[in-house]
C-alpha cells in the first residue's frame, strides 16, 4: 500500500494509476470509488423502482399479464415487497449518499488527498457490489426471492417451509445483507479515520461543512449498527441451516413440527431494529447535511445556527440508538418498555424540529437563486416536514394501535427517509455534477424533473395517510377480501396512476444525466459561487485532488454576503475575514 501523509504534508496519496483496470475498475482513488458507488446505487434504484411499479400495477390489475414478467402471483407480490424494500434501503439510500457522494467529496471538502485507507475503500466497494449481485441472484433461484419483507421477521424468515421464496432465495437474501454489512463496516472505519486524521491545516472540526459532519456521524452510526445486523444475520442463517433455535420457538408449519424449540421471535426484532432504526438516520443524515449546505449556498447567506445544526445531528445520532422499540409496540414487548421507547422517540423529534427551524431561518432575508440543486433542497425541506409530522402519531403507542402496520407507516417513512433522502441524492447530483464531470446538467430538464418528482411524490404518499387511517393494512396485494377496504380501491387506483407518471418522470433525470456527461455545457471551477474546498480545485479534480498543493483553511464553510467583502462569498481558503463570529 502506498504511504500516506497526514494533512498538511506535501505528499501525494499515491501515484496516479496507469491502465484501464487500475484506473476505472480496481481503483484506489476515492473519486472513482465514489462514482462506482453512485452508479451501483443508480442501477439499484432502477431495479427497486421497477419492482414498486410492478407492485402498484398488481394491486390494481391483479390478473394483467405484463410484458417480460407475465402475471404477478400473490407470493410474487410479497417477493416484490421484500426486494423493493431491501434494495432501496441498503443499495440505494445507504449506498449513494454515503458511499457515493461521501467518498467523492469528504476528502476534498476537508482538504485531504484521498481517504485514509484507499485499499480498504476499494474493498468496501467491491464487497458491496458482490452483495448486490447475490441479492439479485435471489430472483433467479428455485422458489424465487423471499417473501418475508425487508424486516425479515422470524420465524417466517427462519423456516424454509413457511412459504415460497423462503428456501434458497431467503438464504441468498441473508447472505447478501451480511456481505453488505461487511462492506459498510469497512466504509465506516475509513470515513471516521479520514475525518479525524486527514483534515487540512485550519480545518478544525467546527469549520467542517455540515456535509462532512453528516458523513462523519453517519459513519459512526454505521459502525455501531451494521455489526449488530451482521450478527443477527449469521444467527438467522444458523437457525435456517444448522438446526439452531435462536429465533424460533416450538412451531408447526401446516401441522408439521419443524424441530425447533426455545427460541425467541422478539429477539430477532430487537437485533434487527437496533440496526434498523439508526439505519433510517444513516439514510437521511447525509441529505440533511447536504440540504443545509445548499440552502446556505443558494440563499447566499450563512447557515442559520451552524453549531445548533451540529449538535442536532449529534443528538439525533445518539438518540437514534435508543428508540428502536417504537417499531415493536404491538409485538408483545412489555408495555412499560413501550412507554420508555415512546418518550425517547418523541425526544428525537426535537433535534429534527430544530433542523427544520434552522433551514427556514436560513432562507429568511436571503437572496434565493432557484438553481436545480436548490429546488430539490427546498423540496427536501417540504417532504421532511410532511413526513416528520406523522412521526408523533406513530411514536405514541396508543395511536400506534390503530396505525401500526397500516398504509400510514409506509406513507410516513417514504416521505421522510425514502423520498426525502432521494431528493438529497438528486440535489447532490445536480450540485456536484459539474465538479465530477466538468459539465453542467441541463437546467430546464432538471426543472421538469423536479416538478414531476415533487408533485408526484405528494400524489403517491399523501393519500397513503388516508388509507392508513381507514385501517388498510400494508403488504396486502389485494383489497377485495375485506369488505371495509372496498371503498378505498379508487384511492389505491389514484396512487398507482400517480406512481406511473412519477416513475416516467424519472426518465428525464436519466436522459439529462447521460446527455450532460458528454454534451453538457462546460463547467467552470466554481459554477455555484460556493465557498467549500472542492470549488477551489480543478474541474474535475486531479488525482491527488489539489494538484500537489495543500489547501490551508482560514474561514468557516458558510461565509456568504460578508459585509465589505469584494464578492458575496468568501472561500474557506481565502484570507481570514475579520467579522467572523
Amino acid at each position: 500500500m502506498a504511504t500516506h501523509g497526514f494533512a498538511g504534508q506535501e505528499t501525494h496519496a499515491h501515484a496516479a494509476p496507469q491502465g484501464f483496470i487500475r484506473k476505472w475498475i480496481f481503483s484506489l482513488d476515492h473519486k472513482i470509488i465514489g462514482l462506482q458507488y453512485y452508479f451501483l446505487a443508480l442501477a439499484a434504484v432502477f431495479v427497486g423502482m421497477f419492482l414498486s411499479l410492478l407492485m402498484r400495477i398488481h394491486m390494481i390489475w391483479p390478473t394483467v399479464a405484463l410484458p417480460l414478467v407475465g402475471e404477478i402471483k400473490p407470493e410474487a407480490y410479497l417477493s416484490l415487497v421484500t426486494m423493493h424494500g431491501t434494495i432501496m434501503v441498503f443499495f440505494v439510500l445507504t449506498t449513494a449518499p454515503q458511499g457515493g457522494f461521501g467518498n467523492y467529496f469528504l476528502p476534498i471538502q476537508i482538504g485531504a488527498p484521498d481517504m485514509a485507507f484507499p485499499v480498504l475503500n476499494m474493498l468496501s466497494f467491491w464487497t458491496t457490489f458482490l452483495g448486490f449481485i447475490v441479492m439479485l441472484a435471489a430472483f433467479f433461484v428455485t422458489g424465487g426471492a423471499p417473501l418475508h419483507g425487508w424486516t425479515g421477521y422470524a420465524p417466517l424468515s427462519a423456516l424454509p417451509s413457511a412459504g415460497p421464496g423462503e428456501g434458497l432465495g431467503a438464504d441468498l437474501w441473508i447472505i447478501s445483507i451480511a456481505i453488505f454489512c461487511i462492506g459498510a463496516l469497512m466504509g465506516a472505519l475509513n470515513f471516521i479515520t479520514t475525518t479525524l486524521d486527514m483534515r487540512a491545516k485550519g480545518m478544525s472540526m467546527m469549520r467542517m461543512p455540515l456535509t462532512c459532519w453528516a458523513w462523519f456521524i453517519t459513519a459512526i452510526l454505521g459502525l455501531l449498527a451494521f455489526g449488530v445486523l451482521l450478527s443477527g444475520g449469521i444467527l438467522l442463517l444458523m437457525d435456517r441451516n444448522l438446526g439452531t433455535s435462536f429465533f424460533v420457538p416450538l412451531v408447526t408449519v401446516n401441522g408439521q413440527l419443524t424441530g425447533h424449540k426455545g427460541g425467541s421471535p422478539l429477539l430477532w426484532q430487537h437485533l434487527f431494529w437496533f440496526f434498523g432504526h439508526p439505519e433510517v438516520y444513516i439514510a437521511i443524515l447525509p441529505a440533511m447535511g447536504l440540504c443545509s449546505q445548499l440552502l446556505s449556498v443558494f440563499s447566499r447567506k450563512p447557515i442559520f445556527g451552524y453549531k445548533a445544526m451540529v449538535y442536532a445531528m449529534l443528538s439525533i445520532g445518539f438518540l437514534g440508538f435508543m428508540v428502536w422499540g417504537h417499531h415493536m409496540f404491538m409485538s408483545g414487548m412489555s408495555p412499560y418498555t413501550a412507554f420508555a421507547f415512546s418518550i425517547m422517540t418523541m425526544a428525537i423529534g426535537v433535534p429534527s424540529a430544530i433542523k427544520t427551524f434552522n433551514w427556514l431561518g436560513t432562507l429568511v432575508r436571503g437572496k434565493i437563486r432557484f438553481s436545480s440543486p436548490m429546488l430539490f433542497a427546498i423540496g427536501f425541506v417540504s417532504l421532511f416536514v410532511s413526513g416528520g409530522i406523522s412521526g408523533p402519531f406513530l411514536a405514541q403507542p396508543v395511536l400506534d394501535i390503530p396505525l401500526h402496520d397500516t398504509a400510514f407507516v409506509p406513507a410516513h417513512f417514504h416521505l421522510i427517509m425514502g423520498v426525502a433522502s432521494i431528493f438529497g441524492i438528486f440535489a447532490a447530483t445536480y450540485y456536484w455534477f459539474p465538479k465530477m464531470f466538468g459539465r453542467m446538467m441541463n437546467e430546464s430538464l432538471a426543472r421538469w424533473h423536479f416538478w414531476f418528482s415533487f408533485i408526484g411524490t405528494y400524489c403517491i404518499f399523501m393519500p397513503m395517510h388516508y388509507l392508513g387511517m381507514a385501517a388498510q393494512p400494508r403488504r396486502y396485494s389485494q383489497f377485495t377480501e375485506l369488505q371495509y377496504l372496498a371503498h378505498l380501491i379508487p384511492l389505491n387506483k389514484f396512487i398507482t396512476y400517480a406512481a406511473i407518471v412519477t416513475i416516467a418522470g424519472q426518465l428525464i433525470f436519466v436522459a439529462n444525466l447521460f446527455w450532460s456527461m458528454f454534451k453538457g455545457k462546460k463547467a467552470s471551477d466554481n459554477p455555484w459561487e460556493a465557498t467549500t474546498l472542492e470549488w477551489t480545485t480543478a474541474t474535475p479534480p486531479p488525482h491527488d485532488n489539489f494538484g500537489g498543493r495543500t489547501p490551508v483553511v482560514h474561514n468557516g464553510p458558510y461565509e456568504y454576503s460578508v459585509p465589505g467583502a469584494p464578492r458575496d462569498f468568501v472561500m474557506q481558503s481565502d484570507p481570514a475575514i475579520k467579522a467572523a463570529h
Binding site: T252, F304, F339, V350, F357, I378, I389, F393
Partner: protein, 269 residues
C-alpha cells in the same frame, strides 16, 4: 420561480389538509370502550400536528417567494449566523409539545395495556396460523384443555387444527370456532397465540391490534360496546395468504351469547 414554488407548495398543503378536515377517508367506526378515548387523542394530535404542518409549509412557500433573488445591487442577503434566543425558544416549545402529547396519551396506554383483564371477563383464546384464525372458549369448567403440536392437523379444522388433546379432561368442554362471538358491554380477555409465524390480530373497529407470536400466550382485553359484525384483519406479514387471513367478530347481546355458547357446548356432548 419563487411564485410558482409558493403556489405549488401551498396547493399541496391545502389539498392535503382539505381531505384530512373533510374526513373523506377516516378512521373506521369505533365500536369498543377504548375507541372514543383513542380517537379523541388522535384528534388532538392531529389538530396540533396539522397546525405545525400548515404553518411550516405555508412558511416555506412564503419565504422562498419573499426572499427570491430580485437582482440588482440593492438586493443583498443578510449576513447573520443565527440567533441563540430563537434556537432556545423553539427547542423548548417543541420539547414541551412532543413530550406533553406523549404524557397525555400515556394514561390511555396504561388502561389498555398496564392492567390485566378483569376477573369476570369473557375469556377467548385466539390462535393464528397460516392463514386462518381460530377461537376457543374454555367451556363450563372455565379451563382451556391442553393442546399438543404433534396432534395438529390443519386440514381437520377446528379442534384438530389446534391440536386439542382429547385425553385432557379440561379439553372435553372446550368450544372451538372459526368466527369469534362475544357479548356486548362485557370485557373480553383474548389470549393470543400463533402456531407457525407471527400474525397480528387487528380489529379496526375496536382500535385493537396485537401480534400473536409463536411461543408466547399474550393476554389482552377490550370491551365491545355495539352489537354487529366486525372484520378481523391480519396485520403482520405472515406469508403468501396474508391478505386473505381475515375473520369476523360477532358482537351480540348477553342472552344471545349465552344461548349460542350453550348450543355449541351441547354439540360437544
Amino acid at each position: 420561480m419563487g411564485l410558482v414554488l409558493l403556489i405549488i407548495i401551498w396547493l399541496i398543503t391545502f389539498v392535503s389538509t382539505y381531505f384530512f378536515i373533510a374526513k373523506t377517508w377516516w378512521l373506521p367506526v369505533g365500536a369498543s370502550a377504548s375507541a372514543a378515548s383513542i380517537d379523541h387523542h388522535f384528534t388532538i394530535t392531529y389538530i396540533l400536528m396539522g397546525i405545525v404542518f400548515v404553518a411550516a409549509q405555508v412558511g416555506l412557500g412564503f419565504l422562498v417567494w419573499r426572499y427570491r433573488d430580485r437582482g440588482g445591487p440593492s438586493n443583498k442577503a443578510e449576513y447573520s449566523h443565527g440567533n441563540t434566543t430563537l434556537e432556545i425558544i423553539w427547542t423548548v416549545l417543541t420539547a414541551v409539545l412532543f413530550v406533553g402529547l406523549n404524557l397525555m396519551s400515556s394514561s390511555i396506554w396504561a388502561s389498555e395495556r398496564f392492567r390485566p383483564a378483569e376477573a369476570n371477563a369473557v375469556r377467548v383464546e385466539v390462535t393464528g396460523m397460516q392463514f386462518a384464525w381460530y377461537f376457543r372458549y374454555p367451556g363450563p369448567d372455565g379451563k382451556f384443555g391442553a393442546t399438543k403440536p404433534e396432534l395438529e392437523d390443519a386440514s381437520a379444522g377446528g379442534e384438530g387444527a389446534l391440536g386439542l388433546d382429547s385425553k385432557d379432561p379440561a379439553s372435553k368442554d372446550d368450544v372451538v370456532t372459526g368466527t369469534m362471538v362475544v357479548p356486548v358491554n362485557r370485557e373480553i380477555e383474548v389470549i393470543l397465540r400463533a402456531h407457525d409465524v407471527i400474525h397480528s390480530f387487528f380489529v379496526p373497529a375496536f382500535r385493537f391490534k396485537q401480534d400473536a407470536v409463536p411461543g408466547l400466550a399474550i393476554s389482552m382485553h377490550f370491551t365491545p360496546i355495539q352489537t354487529g359484525d366486525y372484520e378481523i384483519a391480519c396485520a403482520e406479514l405472515c406469508g403468501l395468504g396474508h391478505y386473505k387471513m381475515h375473520g369476523i367478530v360477532k358482537v351480540v347481546s348477553q342472552e344471545e351469547f349465552d344461548k349460542w355458547l350453550a348450543a355449541r357446548e351441547a354439540e360437544k356432548q
